[in-house]
Amino acid sequence: MMKRALACAAVLALTLSPAAAQQKSPYADYQKKTTEAAPLELFELVGEELWKKKQGPKSASLEQCDLGQGPGKLKGAYARLPRYFKDTGEVMDLESRLVHCMMSLQGRSREEILKRPFGNADKPSELEYLSMYVARQSNGFKIDPGTRHPKEKEAYALGEKLFSWRTGLWDFSCTSCHGEEGKRIRASELPQLDDPKQVSPLIATWPAYRVSTSSLITLQWRMNNCFQQMRTAEPIFGSETVNSLITYLTVKSKGATYSGPGIKR
């Protein structure tokens, strides 16, 4: 039964842009119903347990983690990331900041934390569970990443530059697939990611539960997987490159209402 799903035999060709798709896609009803029925709460629950669990050499929880709104303040915190953090001197997205908190509060090493940054259906990663839990507390908040600090401006500018930077064995840039409206890769519509109208509904629903693989996916994973398909070397988790691309896309989505965690196909 599921073999056919793996054969990648798509039947329906969509030419709608995602923005228009919200009203017109034949899948709109399916996506709405699947979102309502997705087991997101399960993962958020595990994320909450991990947030409160005492771990690491310092046997501490993450409850005092400062995601930009003060220690332990979770409401709306995710919607205001990425942003510049004075204590590290870097622009950080949620996952980078979580790694920072695990290191500083729990005394754990970066190597140990990032041994398995991306999980699978059988075993999501700690960072994926935590991302779901933290992101939920921003549901309904306006997306408002940092844009005023010079470092935040730098991150945006680097992200913009990287977006059209051709690289890797096959000469691709992000714009190869995401630079024009109305294109498809196989049967999947490709959003034009430098268009705020097209990128904001996507940014508003990460992290997400991926229906086709029953796994949790985050923005760090999304960037990593795009580079994998671009046939580059592997981007380092939470590096300036990855965080700047996330900053670029999130700033493009500024002002939209965060409605995640969501589902992806």
Binding site: C8, A9, A10, V11, A13, T15, Y84, K86, R148, H149, P150, E152, K153, E154, Y156, A157, L158, K161, L162, S164, W165, R166, T167, G168, L169, W170, D171, F172, S173, S176, C177, G182, K183, R184, I185, R186, A187, L190, F227, Q228, Q229, R231, T232, A233, E234, P235, I236, S239, E240, T241, V242
Partner: protein, 201 residues
Amino acid sequence: MITKSTLGAAVAALVLSPAASAEPSAREVQEILKRDFRPRGQAKMDRMDQDAVQRLCTTTNNKPPADLAKKLEADQMRTIDFPKGSLMGNWKEGAKIAWSGQGMQWHEDPKLPGGGGCYNCHEMSPQREAFGTIGPSLAAFGKKRGNGIEMQKYVYGKIYNAKAYNLCSEMPRFGTTNSLTEEQIKDLTAYLLDPASPVNK
């Protein structure tokens, strides 16, 4: 902390125009990429070095000056190794290569044969309804254009190194990068040109 950084930003905005202060140079971007990636599996760090073609297409937003493009296209043409005789292989093998999207990724076994991933971007045979639209439709390609030796040479060369024909094409250089073998490219050529191929039905 928030007040402070806001203040800092305001001061910075007064002193410097944000675009001028923030925009990294191509050299800086290249250095950042070398720092922020690591080799994994078959994907080594040399993949992060922008070559002249990638650099020119990036800096000119894929619209290079004509004379420079001509020169670089000629360089790229010299990378193509045209075999003697017919360039048409087995279209049935070509079909498999066109359908497969595998190959050259860091998690993949480099010993396994790679695919062309052609359907990611092109319409080809009516047998496959899930095709992309990043590249032009290649439906009935040989039927429309014939399959003489000049056409064979064009198709073979285009798959081998698309940049020899259109410098800033989005199509990978399958032969030049050793992503496909000579035999595989011949099979794909047959898939596009052989009258028996489903592409031409």
